[in-house]
Subunit: 203 residues, 2 copies
């Protein structure tokens, strides 16, 4: 039985990370980028580097039970389509906003990973001079790129005029920046943010 | 039957705003501040003034059903305590973060409206040079104030050392700033943000 979000993506319930469930989660590449980013953000927070959180999944709650002497139990609720991106927060006073997606494609990144509300949100953020980008993982190569949202807008708007439905990997390689994968942090995107948005290079 | 969040606050399910449900919601002052802020944020967004959203309530999903040809139904879930504040976003490139609370008290604002995780989060935001404050409504007077979080930290830390469990209204009147209540926007807190954090006064 497969659970799906409104966008058709499979829903995989979050589980406590134990040694047994961890291997299971790593087998599922769909969860790994989110997991890696959550670990990364926890690292940034603990080190005082940045304060970035993933937003909770928005739900429409319909029915709640309140058993005596127990916590409230939600008995009926539905997934709602998010009106924003998944991640946001603050770095050196600036507002940071991004969406993270991965693909198993070899040559391109499909635009159907985004929905129109998210693109609108990113355009609003950009208009307010916020820092806004996408983090894209090509699972087959285990390559993770940061791409400023302006390039996403370009391809998105072209698509609406009948253009191609994906961003070529070659374009992302040339225009985006490859993010270093490590242990602490796992996906060091702040290093790239320094380079692109603060014109700084740290060693 | 009263539904409660982990912090003991009553849970009131969100309902579509219709003419009949609206009068009901206005009778419940507990929802009004959130409602007013949501309208305010929608106004700011539509006018290109700021991009501020309320975060979804965090839930722990335990069981999901996927009926054929229907949307996924969450059959068991629990409220989780939020690790951050409720509202954040971007204004003129800066990161904005706040919590909004109201009280029926006459003389003071009780500190038990906040939990330790939220205070920690606000301290992290401040350390990253984010703009961080609380919006406090005194329901009996229908007065809404913006108070920079540094003052909240002061009272919070004093409380931990055995100090008083609330912030005097007189202190909030003197140190915070009264927010203009109107129709569009309903609670014009960005005008106060301009004054406090950008040293600007608009007419």
């Amino acid at each position: 039985m497969t659970i799906r979000y409104p966008n058709g993506k499979s829903y995989i319930p979050k589980q406590p990370v134990t040694s047994s469930s961890k291997s299971h989660q790593y087998a599922n590449r769909g969860m790994t980028l989110e997991e890696d980013l959550n670990y990364t953000n926890t690292y940034y927070l603990s080190q005082g580097i940045a304060v970035i959180h993933k937003k909770p999944t928005p739900l429409q709650i319909v029915k709640v039970d309140y058993p005596k002497r127990s916590a409230a139990v939600i008995k009926e609720a539905y997934f709602k389509q998010a009106s924003t991106t998944d991640y946001n927060g603050v770095y050196r006073g600036r507002y940071i906003d991004f969406e993270a997606k991965e693909t198993k494609n070899k040559q391109s990144f499909p635009l159907n990973n985004f929905h129109a509300h998210q693109i609108d949100h990113m355009k609003h953020v950009k208009a307010q001079n916020g820092i806004c980008f996408v983090i894209v993982r090509f699972s087959l190569y285990d390559e993770v790129y940061l791409l400023d949202c302006s390039h996403l807008f370009h391809y998105w708007d072209q698509q609406l005029k009948g253009g191609r439905k994906s961003i070529p990997k070659s374009f992302i390689e040339q225009t985006g920046m490859l993010i270093k994968i490590g242990l602490h942090p796992r996906i060091d995107y702040i290093g790239i943010v320094d380079k692109i948005y603060f014109n700084e290079t740290k060693n």
